[in-house]
Assembly symmetry: D2
Homo-oligomer: 196 residues x 4
Amino acid sequence: MKRFVLFVPLVAGLALAYAPALAHTSTIAPVVASSAIYAPITVAEVEAAQKAWGEALVAISTEYDTKGHAAAKRLAEQVLDTAYGYTMGPVLFKPTLTMAPQTFRTTRDGALAYFVGGDKAYPNDGGFALKHWRKFQLENAGIVIAGNTAISMGNLMLWDDKNNMTKVDKTWGYVRGGDGKLRIVLHHSSLPYTPK
Amino acid sequence: MKRFVLFVPLVAGLALAYAPALAHTSTIAPVVASSAIYAPITVAEVEAAQKAWGEALVAISTEYDTKGHAAAKRLAEQVLDTAYGYTMGPVLFKPTLTMAPQTFRTTRDGALAYFVGGDKAYPNDGGFALKHWRKFQLENAGIVIAGNTAISMGNLMLWDDKNNMTKVDKTWGYVRGGDGKLRIVLHHSSLPYTPK
Amino acid sequence: MKRFVLFVPLVAGLALAYAPALAHTSTIAPVVASSAIYAPITVAEVEAAQKAWGEALVAISTEYDTKGHAAAKRLAEQVLDTAYGYTMGPVLFKPTLTMAPQTFRTTRDGALAYFVGGDKAYPNDGGFALKHWRKFQLENAGIVIAGNTAISMGNLMLWDDKNNMTKVDKTWGYVRGGDGKLRIVLHHSSLPYTPK
Amino acid sequence: MKRFVLFVPLVAGLALAYAPALAHTSTIAPVVASSAIYAPITVAEVEAAQKAWGEALVAISTEYDTKGHAAAKRLAEQVLDTAYGYTMGPVLFKPTLTMAPQTFRTTRDGALAYFVGGDKAYPNDGGFALKHWRKFQLENAGIVIAGNTAISMGNLMLWDDKNNMTKVDKTWGYVRGGDGKLRIVLHHSSLPYTPK
């Protein structure tokens, strides 16, 4: 458990007039809380959260196709509560297919409407997660870890049940929730730019 | 300088059988480094950085219109080095008008090409900052401060010299640089979604 | 709710050859989560946590003097679980009166033994919180806020029921717990140095 | 460089009525700035900073014994500027052998006086670094990494040129400086408690 390290002092430009006892050792026995709420987020955690997000989207689509809207909505609510940080404060969420004046969805209701539709307060929302998604692929352009936050940017490719592909530019920002698990507090998604 | 506070202990459910000397005072003389590299980012700092970004874009456009491309490029380089974190590591930058395979600009060269064009390595870049911008307006949907990082999301409206308006959905992520000033390490910009 | 700010661009050394529409406004409507787990710790929160610590120590002493050891121990456990971060990982705790090989109390058991004694595994612990404390005074030399952590250093003066005063040099380090409230993850306390 | 991962979706309790194309892959090519100012501090960095501190103390002592006070003071100033965060704000520093009213040394002058003495403003400072230290040993009780800060607690053993040993209880708190290297912003050192 304990690691003993022998330090040989290397002090540049230091003339030692005599030779004292020089050996000095260092005993290091760190006790580190690596999974605590305050622990830095790791790249592996970000990748796992991204994978979980894609799997959840496919799961909601499949739930909808096999069990109907009510079941899909229930699953979407579970996903929102475990993957996003709406219980901790506003989430900066700009979904792919939203328009003014409802472009940004800082509340859980707005996010739920976007994913499964059926909310009169969001009449343009058809339910993005109901589009029969069956597989996904992520390609990160970069991940930045800053203290105990993390942001990722890259492409998400989604295929529906007819194997049609949709590609989006995707940014996610993560913090830790009260249980130490990652929560999305930033989500900016947009269709690739195409010149007119 | 010193603040004296008289504390009256209120311990719920505590029966005091006798009356000891109860007055206990607290002297607090905090010495706090509020502008240090490690200090939390404030909303005011985020708003100031946003304002500076808009002003810099207008300035580059005006420099281009009045002094030409070389001057505009010099100014753009200054802006990149003071506003973005490219000297600290990769920046997650998805500009408004970029396409695959050059959608993401994690390097300073890629960002400079986007703003002022003229780089053979980025043949599709016409120079976004050269579009004769004259004024801007920002409308934040939200700002999240997480430790000593910050993210903002909202709309940016830009007007050119003919008063044509361009509106984009804009996300910025900030950290502190070595001088304690904010640097952009995340920038996701996209045109509003329009149904076909 | 919305704040409109008129920005007058001041670009040093910029010659404007003509006069375009210059007024550009900025609309800022921040939605900020100031009490979230990821929110920076404030000086006011640190001062409140320090005050709560002192009050809790007096409360445990008073509980002991009025209701006995079992009641004091129950209260000490509550205090440990709400004021310290032992449920999140090891706590770096060097109490005032501990000696090798039990100087450091990184576990909850070690901290409880220190405060209320009566644990055979810690035979030298008489119970620091049982020393009939009646009032306290804090004098901070400084508080440093770093991201969503905070550290404070200063003097704590404690008076017992006979008005005898004990003074210690005290350092506390704080993070946020899962409920967003401060938890001590560092506590170094020592008697003032006195030359022999 | 790119890592391809095949994801097999495992959605508990999900009945798949039909069999869509299930293979979904994820391509992850993270670009991470691990040495940036905003990067989390690692245990290895803390251990290296501790080792550097011990080596620096021995170096100042040796410089004093071989070259005299002026040389030792110059070296101490270099050490302070590279190891401590005085240029970033106040440092919470409670050295081993200081007394009221000069117990806490939140300024660089106070720290320098403690290490090499000779400052009339600190008449009790004999110069801790001049005590002919020749070797050191560190034994950490724990290290806590919180975002991009770190704290360590443990014992430091120091031997002088006559092989007399001094043992202290030592806490250090670290942040990153503008150059990305660790700086001490908290230092609480105390002699072990001995019952009278």
